[in-house]
Each structure stands twice: as structure tokens, then as C-alpha cells.
Symmetry: C2
Subunit: 126 residues, 2 copies
């Protein structure tokens, strides 16, 4: 069984208010994380909320990175979704951990799009 | 313990090639799913891949919706991430299931950003 995508869901705790509330900084860290992991950036959109918080997404050829920040709690929800073998989502996740200086990270990988593969040999054997 | 966000990860199988490969249709279904669930749409970006496939994200005030399609496999990876009590991610997910006419859907909800809450009463009791 082959997975089409790898999706890392990460919870970043203990980040600084000013980092998580700075839309330009959040955008820069997210885009750089994608580039650092070898992804091809297609588009990105970021939005600043009032009184605080930033949401944003980087669409890459290999899927996407997303973030939602709660500066008042020092928390950010981070997603790194990649397909193909070229980009390792954990490379981007590790870059983000350093970029946001998260004191505690809970992260796990979820396989997306499990597809059953049959080889001609397997089909013949049936 | 309170969760800041609810994240539905859904795998749509058995969708039609032409639906999953039509960027304008995919965009319309995704944006309408957000609106149907009562979300406030902030921005959206969609990208068409060659020879096939669409990736896109809708940033909403309550977080985001994302999709990546593999038309040749009839498969789409769908995410609906919401925060707050106003929007139910499953409403958007159900709309998307109908919109993409998925024959089989595997979906689960992941809580995001678990925060320990202490009430003044609890603090006094300690």
C-alpha cells in the first residue's frame, strides 16, 4: 500500500507573543521552511487578525504548509503536507521549530491517500 | 482540557476525473463549503498542475480548508480546520462529499492545540 502524501501535524507551544503576532515574520519563516526543505513555492496568503493572531498558507508544488497562531497563548498549529519523494515534511517542521523558537513541540505524521497497488506479477498470480 | 481547533482530515475516493481536474469547479466547491458552514472567507488560492491535479486553500477567519486532487486516481485529500464554536468542520466536510460526489470517504477529527484550563475555583481548591 502506497501513501500519496505525508502530513505532519505539529503543535508549537512556548513561542513568543511578538513572533506569533508579526505577519511578515510568520510569512518569512513559513516560506523559508518550504524552500529549505526543497519545495517549490507556488503561492502564499497570510492574514492578520485583530486584536492578535496570524493565519497563513504556503501552496507548494508538493502540497502545502499552513499555520494558525494564538500569540496570547504562545501557541501555533502547524501543518506540513507533502507529496512525492523530493520533500521531507520533517525538514520543514524542524526548520519551523527553530524559526518560531518553540519550547515544546508535539508532532506526528499522518499518511494521506493510501492506494492499493497491484503489480502485473501479483495480478497474474491471482 | 480545551481544544483550540478541530481539524477534519478526509480522504475522498471515487471522484470523477473531470471534477477533480477543473480548477474553477474545485475552487467553487471549496469556497461554497466554507460559506455553507457559516465561515467567513478571507482569502483563497488555487493552483492547477500539469498534466493534471489541483491544489488550493481557503483561509477563513476560523482557520482554513485545503484540497489536493489526483484526478487520475479519483482521489482528493481534504482538510477542514476550524477554531471557535461558530463553525462545525463536519458541515463543510459533508458539503464537500456531496460537491465532489465522492463514492467513499475516510474522515477523522483531530483536536488541535490542547490547552489546560484552570478555573479560579480549581486554583482555590489546590
Amino acid at each position: 500500500m502506497k501513501a500519496l502524501g505525508r502530513h505532519v501535524l505539529a503543535e508549537f507551544y512556548g513561542c513568543e507573543f511578538d513572533t506569533l503576532n508579526d505577519i511578515k515574520l510568520v510569512e518569512k519563516i513559513m516560506v523559508n521552511a518550504a524552500l529549505e526543505a526543497g519545495a517549490e513555492v507556488r503561492e502564499f496568503v497570510f492574514h492578520k487578525f485583530s486584536p492578535q493572531g496570524v493565519s497563513g498558507v504556503v501552496v507548494i508544488s508538493e502540497s502545502h504548509l499552513a499555520i494558525h497562531t494564538w500569540p496570547e497563548l504562545g501557541y501555533a498549529a502547524v501543518d506540513v503536507f507533502t507529496c512525492g519523494d523530493k520533500v521531507d515534511p520533517w525538514e520543514a517542521c524542524n526548520y519551523l521549530t527553530r524559526g518560531f523558537r518553540a519550547k515544546r513541540v508535539l508532532a506526528k505524521e499522518q499518511k494521506r491517500g493510501l492506494i492499493f497497488e497491484t503489480s502485473p506479477q501479483a495480478a497474474q498470480a491471482v
